[in-house]
């Protein structure tokens, strides 16, 4: 995941997907695209419009390049969505901002809990089981497995 958007030349079309803050991060690349009169489209992201994004991205043709700038809390969902649709890592740039956190899958009730990156223990907010954060990771859930705490 990059921290600064970089213009990638030679693409058929450019998609910019971001919220208001993200549009500022993408402004230099956007100016470049405009200046060279290349095809582009903006998708102004909001959590409510997440479902439509899937439909929007699914309609794109080969040769489309995707820029996404969103808070970390939304970025992974969009990243997984784009991957599912068929965007490869060579056709995308993802930039996250804001508080970085990880998801912990509760082994008892399957609830996803939010935790800080360095956190090793937590209590599941749904079933109240004390969990130990493991390094067992699921790409599908985008979460680490929380085992019952033994201590």
């Amino acid at each position: 995941m990059s921290i600064e958007a970089v213009f990638i030349k030679g693409k058929r079309k450019y998609i910019f997907c971001s919220d208001e803050y993200g549009s500022r991060v993408l402004s230099s690349v956007f100016e470049h695209v405009k200046k060279e009169k290349l095809a582009y489209e903006w998708y102004h992201f909001s959590a409510e419009k997440r479902e439509w994004l899937e439909e929007f991205l699914s309609k794109q043709k080969m040769g489309t390049f995707l820029y996404v700038v969103l808070p970390y809390s939304e970025l992974y969902t969009v990243q997984m969505m784009a991957k599912r649709i068929g965007f490869s890592s060579d056709e995308t740039q993802y930039i996250g901002y804001g508080e970085k956190w990880i998801s912990i899958f509760c082994c008892r009730c399957h609830e996803l809990n939010r935790a800080e990156e360095q956190q090793t223990e937590l209590t599941c907010h749904q079933c109240r089981l004390k969990l130990e954060v493991s390094d067992h990771y699921s790409e599908l859930h985008h979460a680490f497995l929380g085992y019952p705490a033994t201590g």
């Binding site: 899958f105 082994c107 008892r108 009730c109 399957h110 089981l129 493991s134 390094d135 067992h136 990771y137 699921s138 790409e139 599908l140 859930h141 497995l145 085992y147 019952p148």
Partner: protein, 318 residues
């Protein structure tokens, strides 16, 4: 659920006096994905209750697994009917199938390949007729993915968490598995599996209690028994848990059916065979710490060893 059959038929898992993780798969003599044991009715009752009460925990599937699920239905029904014709039958007219389970007195009519002809997904349906847990691994992009599964009797893992995972990621928690390169070797072995040449292996662990359902989700219910084991009660309380794991290549989808039949034997039953006691004592005494830890035996290894020692002394004084 304790072993009620003839001890001679128990899938005793050891050959040597030491144990390490390995690819101990062997070609199957009888290429059958299933086995019906004397506890069939009891286990089906338990399995169906678990599937109905905890569907998310016991059943998971991804959309693209449907063709593979039908392949499993075909394979399992064919095996049931050919091995146990007195208990199972199937009538196929084009795609109209009538499957009869005489043990449970059930007759199911469906159109093979048509999902809506069954009240549930095909894998869910067939898993209600076999004691085995059934895992569907799809091969693509030079890898294996857990794309569907019915798992009622897991040895402390979560199907709901592992769904969609690659082979190596599934085995990530096993200490030493990656470091020793076993994950890559076994993955390669599995990807070379050929249709018509199934393999099987035995996996074992110890557990306090006699529950078949030792899911990670219910660890807080069954895991606490580990602290109650003493050398006095180990014979009754502690069980050796053996999984008969079978691997079948499904040619249409180039995927793999992984069936797991779990058996439990109380140590006091194991102790009736003096050679087994001696061998198991040697294995447990020598077992490396990381395997002891992963198999969850740390809390009561000492108590079990004391129990086995007593049994061995009794044999010597006879």
């Amino acid at each position: 659920m304790k072993w009620t059959g003839d001890l001679a038929h128990f899938p005793y898992p050891f050959k040597d006096s030491t144990y390490r993780y390995s690819n101990n798969s062997i070609p199957m003599k009888q290429p059958l994905s299933i086995e019906v044991t004397p506890s069939y009715k009891k286990e089906m009752l338990l399995k169906r209750k678990l599937l109905s009460d905890h569907p998310e925990r016991c059943y998971q599937s991804l959309l693209h697994s449907m063709t593979g699920q039908w392949e499993i239905v075909e394979l399992v029904i064919d095996h049931l009917v050919s091995k146990y014709p007195q208990d199972f039958s199937v009538k196929k007219e084009n795609n109209s199938w009538i499957f009869t389970n005489k043990i449970l007195d059930e007759k199911i009519e469906f159109i093979f390949g048509e999902k809506n002809s069954l009240p549930c997904e095909p894998l869910f349906f067939i898993s209600q007729h076999v004691q085995e847990d059934l895992i569907y691994m799809r091969q693509r992009d030079d890898n294996l993915y857990l794309d569907a599964g019915q798992l009622c009797f897991p040895a402390n893992w979560s199907l709901a968490f592992n769904i969609g995972m690659k082979f190596k990621s599934i085995h990530h928690p096993i200490p030493g598995f990656k470091e020793e390169g076993l994950d890559q070797r076994i993955l390669q072995f599995l990807m070379r599996l050929e249709a018509g040449t199934p393999w099987e292996r035995l996996n074992w662990s110890l557990m306090a209690g006699d529950r078949l359902d030792t899911s990670l989700e219910t660890f807080d219910q069954w895991g606490r028994l580990r602290k109650q084991v003493t050398s006095e009660n180990a014979g009754e309380l502690v069980h050796i848990r053996v999984e008969v794991q079978k691997l079948f290549r499904l040619p249409r989808t180039n995927s793999i059916l992984f069936s797991i039949h779990t058996h439990l034997l109380a140590l006091e039953q194991l102790a009736t065979n003096s050679e087994w006691v001696q061998q198991f004592y040697e294995i447990l005494s020598e077992l490396p710490a990381h395997i002891i830890e992963y198999k969850g035996i740390s809390n009561y290894k000492k108590a079990v060893l004391e129990y086995l020692e007593k049994q061995l002394q009794q044999v010597k004084t006879l």
